[in-house]
Every structure is written in C-alpha cells, then in structure tokens.
Subunit: 512 residues, 2 copies
C-alpha cells in the first residue's frame, strides 16, 4: 500500500497542481508560485524561499517557492517561472506534484571546503553534477563560489574541477589535430581580435572552430559583431560542415551544452565580483576541452579597470593556465596585453565589424591597435601550434593579412555560415566634441560601454559609438572625441544627454 493510494480522494488532489506559465523570467533559478491558501503551503510549512521538488510524469525539478495572493493564480494552479517552465517541459494545465525535496548530500562537501578541507575529484564531481542538474539555488552557488574564491583552490582541485565541468556536458571532436582556439579574459570594449585572428589561422591551414558569446552587460559580444557579417546560430552539424570546409568558424556558443555547470556558475559569480583564479581557469579551460581544442591562446588584458589588475596577479594566472591546461591535455599560452583602454574605434556590433573589415582590407585608416594586437596574438597562436619557429609567427600572420588571404578567408567563412552581409549603418549620428584643448588622459571603459548601450547597442546592431581619440592624443577645443550612432532620434538624444553630463568619459588633461 503506497501513501498515495491510501489517501482520501480530496487529499490526493491537494498534492497536484495545474501548471501555468506566468511569463516571469527569474534568471537561471527556477521559481514556482503557489497561492498562500493552497493546502500544500499550509500543511507542509512551506514559505517563500523554501526549496521544493516539482514532478510532472518522469520529469523532476528543484525550484524555489514564492507564495502569492489570490488574483495572480487560480485555485489549484502552480505558476512556473520561465526557467522552471523550460526545464520541466510541461504543457499548460499539466498536473504537477509539489513536495519536499530530497536532501542534497553534495552540500556537505561545500561545508567541508568552507572548513578549509581539500576536495577530491569525487567530491567536486558530486557538487558539479548537482549544479549542472539545477539542484543548487543561487545562494548555494554563491556559497560554493565564495568557499573556493581567493586562493582556496589548489592546483589539484582546479584540475579536478576543470575535468568534472567538462564531464557533465557535451564534448566535440574533430577529424584532425591540432585544433586551435583563443580566449580573452575580461572584456575591453572593441576588443574584436577574434574576427581577425580566426581567418588568419584558418588561412594558414589550421583548424579553429571558434564559439563566442553574446553581450550580457557589454555593448557587443564577438557573436553579436560576427552576426552583422553572417548568421551565427548554427547547430553542431552545421558548425562541423563550416569547419570542415573552411578550417574555421565564428559561431554563437550558447546553443551547445559545453560545460553547462560553468554557464550556471558565472551568472552568480559576476554580480559577486569575486576574485577566484581557480574558478576562472576551470571556467575557461573546461569550455575549451569540451570544444575539442588542443592549443589555446589566452589574451589576458592587464589594467586598472580590467579583470586582471596587476602584474603579480597576471603572473599567477599565467602559470595556473599553463599548468592546469597541461594536466587536462591542452597546450595553453597566456599572453599579457594592455588593458588600459578600448581597442579599435568602434563600440557596438556593426561599428566593430567595420574596424575588423578595415584591418582585413589593409585600409590605411584601419585602427592600428586592433591590427597590431591581432597580429601579435595570431603569431603566438601559430607558434603555439608548432606551425612556425618561435619568433616568426607574427611575420607569417602579417603576410597572410597583407596579401589579402585573411579577408578572403573571412568572406569564405561567412558564406559557409549562411551568406556574408554588410554591417548596417545607423540612421542618426552626432559627434561629441572637446570643450577645451588638452591631452587625452584616460578613457572610462565602463561609462563608454554604457553610453553605447544607451544608444541602442547591441539590440540595434548599427548603434554604438566611434572613438576618434586614444589615450595620449592631443586635441583642440571643438575637435570630435567620439561620434554616437543610433537608430532613433530618441536614443540619440538620450545618449547625448548622458554624454554631456559626464564629460569624464574621455578625460582631458593639460595639453602637453
């Protein structure tokens, strides 16, 4: 006799609710909404923030409860947030059972870590499996990340964490080696070297299947910029066809489930602004191993407003990337670069794509910093792959760029991804000028990014801004500092107002 069968009819009904999609996006944490007067809220002692288990047929999901008052839900309904709806995969009205969740044994390992104990591979695997399965609430993830932050993961733990993060997701394989990749730690506005490096490497005959991200808080991610040139939402089979034909691709990585636990961890890590080198290394390298890469170049911008702020921290990160990479079968080369100011001229998807095309087209007005940075990194990657002797990578990269092979390769990759297109041009532009003469003392990356978003980027791919100066340049009074690009008069005006009330976005010092 089961508990269920023995219950009176009226009571059995209490356990089930009709699923209803409420259209509330609560981020990655699934939330279930129940009425305060529902029997289960009363009898089980459930209150808001309680974790509960939802079952619909064979599907199971742990969710956080929010108790609601009557008008939002009908009697007997369970409202589901977008994440809960997607993960549970039900239809409107499906019977959902709500109950106390099973205990989560892996939390004892988090507590052990808090008490300063080392975690072995099995313990980390238990935690990461539960994270990937959505069993951890955001506060549990925050606690785990905090327990591992600072310097609290040793080398062995970082290696085990990287491996276990790979093991819970999909893994791509390629028909030949080496498989090259690049990654940049912490975004500088306009740092679109990927779109120059990938065609150089592919034109040199190497495999470089690059997955990139879209903007979360920035005005453009590499995937957004590439999307102004070609489609980027390709399924795994299509990616494989493109790479087999052209040697490289630049696609959005969000569709593939590569290191899915990492996707959940970084969403909580970002607002906490934790300095967690072990976590960072595991995050970067697990994605690369899952993508089937063998040789990875990591661009580490160092600067006061970059993710890595000093040379000591950079040196530690460099060593950690190399050694953990080796342990998980990756050749990793970290390269420290200048993280003090934006790269290139454009900030925003189409404006950045125009910089990329200017560099690849050997346009004399192409931004020299983007060109130099791309060649430096491409050269390192060619050397890392063993394609050229040490010290000669950059020359080969320059040759491939200069003779037009890189541009032709990008065009071919765009065609293979579904057809090359011309980046859009914004309907409205307006320059912001220097009030006084002076020398550019600093550029505020954060406010610059915000300004580009106010102008419409990345939602409007043509929107953003175009920088006319770099740090150290001398300008006359009235000279343009940057031009705002927008698709509507309203957004242009909005961005201009923001710009005018914050003249320090481009800070001018005394003329030298």
């Amino acid at each position: 006799m089961t508990a269920l069968a023995s219950q009176p009819r009226a009571l059995r009904a209490e356990l089930f609710h009709r699923a209803r999609r409420l259209g509330i996006d609560t981020g990655q944490e699934p939330v279930v909404y129940l009425r305060r007067d529902s029997s289960i809220v009363c009898s089980e002692g459930f209150d808001s923030q309680t974790r509960v288990e939802l079952r619909a047929g064979e599907r199971r999901l742990r969710a956080t409860l929010a108790v609601v008052t009557a008008p939002l839900l009908e009697e007997g309904e369970a409202g589901l947030s977008e994440a809960a709806w997607a993960r549970l995969g039900v239809d409107p009205g499906t019977r959902v059972r709500v109950r106390h969740p099973r205990p989560l044994p892996s939390l004892r390992h988090v507590r052990a870590k808090i008490h300063g104990q080392r975690l072995d591979a099995a313990a980390l695997a238990e935690i990461i499996r539960d994270v990937a399965a959505g069993e951890y609430s955001d506060i549990h993830i925050a606690s785990f990340l905090t327990a591992c932050a600072g310097e609290r993961l040793d080398r062995r733990e970082t290696i085990d964490l990287t491996r276990t993060m790979v093991s819970v997701g999909e893994r791509l394989t390629w028909s030949r080696a080496p498989v090259l990749d690049k990654h940049s730690v912490g975004g500088l506005p306009g740092n679109r070297t990927t779109l120059v490096i990938v065609p150089i490497i592919a034109a040199a005959g190497h495999l470089i299947p690059k997955t990139s991200s879209r903007a979360i808080t920035s005005p453009a991610g590499t995937a957004d910029t590439m999307e102004t040139l070609a489609p980027v939402e390709l399924d795994t089979a299509a990616v494989r066809r493109v790479v087999e034909r052209e040697g490289g691709c630049v696609v959005w990585g969000g569709a593939a489930r590569l290191s899915p636990a990492d996707d959940l961890l970084i969403r909580v890590e970002r607002p906490l602004e934790l300095d967690a080198p072990g976590q960072l290394v595991a995050s970067v390298l697990s994605k690369k191993v899952a993508a089937g890469s063998t040789h990875v170049l990591v661009d580490v911008p160092v600067g006061a407003r970059a993710k890595v702020r000093g040379l000591d921290a950079a040196a530690r990160l460099e060593r950690e990337l190399r050694e953990v990479g080796e342990a998980v079968g990756l050749r990793v080369r970290p390269v420290l670069t200048d993280g003090a100011q934006p790269v290139g001229r454009g900030v925003g998807p189409a404006l950045e794509a125009r910089d990329v095309l200017a560099v690849l087209g050997n346009d004399p007005r192409a931004p020299e910093d983007l060109r130099a940075r791309s060649l430096l990194l491409a050269g390192h990657l060619l050397e890392l792959a063993g394609a050229v002797p040490a010290g000669s990578g950059e020359a080969l990269a320059r040759q491939i760029l200069t003779d037009g092979r890189a541009l032709r390769k990008l065009e071919a990759i765009c065609e293979a991804q579904g057809g090359m297109r011309t980046p859009p041009v914004a309907a409205f532009t307006r320059p912001v000028t220097a009030r006084v003469a002076g020398r550019v003392a600093a550029i505020d990356n954060r406010r610059l990014a915000r300004l580009a978003r106010l102008a419409g980027a990345p939602r409007d791919p043509a929107a953003g801004l175009e920088l006319h100066v770099h740090v150290g340049d001398s300008v006359e009074a009235g000279a343009p500092l940057y031009t705002i690009h927008a698709e509507s008069r309203g957004e242009l005006a909005y961005a201009l107002t923001y710009a005018r009330t914050r003249p320090g976005i481009v800070a001018l010092g005394e003329a030298s």
Copy 2:
C-alpha cells in the same frame, strides 16, 4: 542643467513607471517586475537578476529585477514584490523611477574577508549597515556568511560584529537591573522551558522581559505556544507596562526592530546550513543586548540531530558565548543539555501549553523531563543573576514551582498581556500504536515535527501530537506510541497515512 531637465518629454516618461503590487512574496529580497519591451529594460541592458535602484519621492530601494512578458503587467507599470512594496511604502500608481544602482563599496570588505583578511570594526559596520538597509541581495548575503563561516571570525571580529548588529537597530532600556533572559540554540520539538522559567524568575522578583519567535519550519515557536494562553503581539509600550507590573512577559519579538540585520542574515543562513559559530554568537547576543538584557542563560542542546552535534563544538561555543558576552556587557551562562529527543509530551502550540500548565500546576502526570529541564535552567539563571549562592538556584526554583507561585505568576502575566485563555482542544484525535513489542530505540525529531505540521500545527493551534513514550521505554504490541490531534478529518487522515508509511518516526528495537 540636470540630465532630467534636458531630456525630451518622451524620454523622461521612460524613466518612470507606475507602481503595482503584484502580491508575490519573494521572501526578504525585494523584486521589481518590468516588461521585457519596456524602454528601460532595452536601453539600460537590464536583464533578470540585475540589481536596480527604485526611487519614489524620497524613498529609495535596491531591488532585483525580474523581466516579464506582457499579460502580467500593463505598459509603463513596475510590479513590486511584497518586500519591495512594503519597503518602498508607495500607493498603487505612484511614479517609481528605475535606474542603475550606486556601487556598494562595502562589498570590498567581503572580498577582503574572502582573501583571509581580518575585518575591523569600521569594515564590519559598513557591511552590516548595508545589510540592514536591504542593500545586499541574498547571494551577497550568502557570500558574506560563507566568508565568515567555519572558524573564520576571530574573537575580536565576533565582538565587533555583535556590537555593530546592535547599533543598526532599536534598543530597549529598563528601569532596574539585572535584566534576565534565556535563549535556546536550535529547536527540539516540545522544548517549551521558557514558559516555565519566565514565571519562576519573575516570581522570584527579577525582571525577565522575554521576546520569542514564531515557528518558521517547526510545528510551534514559543510565541505560538504562549498565544494559546494569552495575546503575544504587544507593542513596545504594552510590553513595558506588563514587565513593570509583573516582572516578566512572553511576547512575540518580530514587531520590535531588535538587531534587524540578524533577521536578514538568518533567513539566508538557514538554507545554507552553515556551521558558523561566530555568526551564531553574534546573532544570539546582539538580540539580547538590544533587548536590554544583562544576564543571559543559553540552553545548548547537544545531540546527533541537534544544531550542536558534539562536545568539542559545544565547548568552543560555550567559551565564545561567555567571552563575547563579557566584551559586550552581558553575563552569559551556557548550559549544555540533552538534545537527543523531544522534550515533554506535546508537539504543537496547545499541546505544548498543556504540558507547561501541568508542570506549573504540579500535576503528578506532568512530563518529568520538561519539569527537570526547566528547574535546572531556572536554577542556573537565578545563580547567574547573583540571587542565590552557587548550587542553590535549582532548590529555589523548585520551591517557587511547588508552592504554586510560578503558576500564579504565569496567570498574572497572561492577564497583563491581555487576558488568560484556555488552550484549544482538537476536534479529532487518533492514536498510532506499536506493531510489535519492543524498546524505543530512537525518535526522529525531524519527521515528528513534520507529522505535527501535517496535522495542522501551528496554523491550527490545537493540532499536533502527543507522545506517549520516550527513548528507552518498553512497549507492548498495540500500545499507543503517540496520538495525532487535528481539527479536520482530512488532516487527521493525511497525518495518519504519513505516520503509517513511516513507522521509524518512533523506532522500536528488541525488547530489553
């Protein structure tokens, strides 16, 4: 010229939303709901889980954003969760401005703690002020708690934390000293010694203004039990009148803003199940200092399923309570007690109140464990207050109990709190019996508590259960183990089914 004045009319409107109470209880973290197609979500790059600042006139509030699809909100509306609605204090339709929040400088101290640095009083004060003001999201609180868990707060930090937690809230003062208090660390079902101790201490002529909590996840809090005997929701002035007249009270502490940061921290600490002795000590002692207490007895139940599981941990906690207490001006006496099984017979508000009345009435059938435990603790408290020589407190407590003064004092306190009443009796009862003869080997506190909640406690004060056995008792087959009390046949049946399918709630071993 301000940013606002210079904006076109249409843009100004975008910044404001009409407040709407959505009736969603998200716990303590305020949540604001905005439509995905609202201009601010688009232009500011806001996404779900972003922290935003809400302003309505002079009121300001930091909240977490949840993006919603159309039907839930009208255009131009900002939906507010219950916590956001209460804290912002607006009327329906009030204009609310949504924007990027100011940075939170105190988070740098949390990061410093993560990196193993000591926090000084000023740093802890910055953090706790921000927590009390609702500036921290739950994941920030989780990170702070984790960074301080384990043994990571030293004595000095625990003292500073305690003081700063007191300083951000209200503080009560009393006309004479000593002011006595008691606290129990971690709830055992039925552990209602407070209702016996308070009248003994008050009858002995001492001040004991006791604030208690309601159940959160248990079948009864002390405030719930007291409420079956007298009103407990008294404002500060009424509490003062009761205590001045009778020397003691037992009221619900939720109304007074004593150590408000603690209220926010423990809501996050509980689901994390952190072992954080420094935090625990600061939590307990800050409430007592804020309540104006001078001498505090702390009941520390030790047992495999209690909050404190072993004697080593108990000894450390004991020392920490004493020493931190001394530093903040409190005489603290921790007393280790048996945390292995429930105390008394009743589990549920009215059933526990009946145990208390039986003890105070010197009923020969009164539960001996509740009586003995209450006398032991009351004796310690009398000695701590310097009222009697060491070793003679329990005898005085027994005398006050035996001669009826304690019962008369409880009756007088109840009258002063608004009138004594008789605990209700449940409409339906049903015993659960032993299937076989045997000896009671263990009682599962957690399942027992759940069973009492299924029967209706604490919502129905009469509901719960009555234990007929304790660990070590021998029972015959068919003898009653406990009786379920419920106010409806449905709940009785529901609880019975749960009980029958989980015979291990009272585990029987071989008869000895």
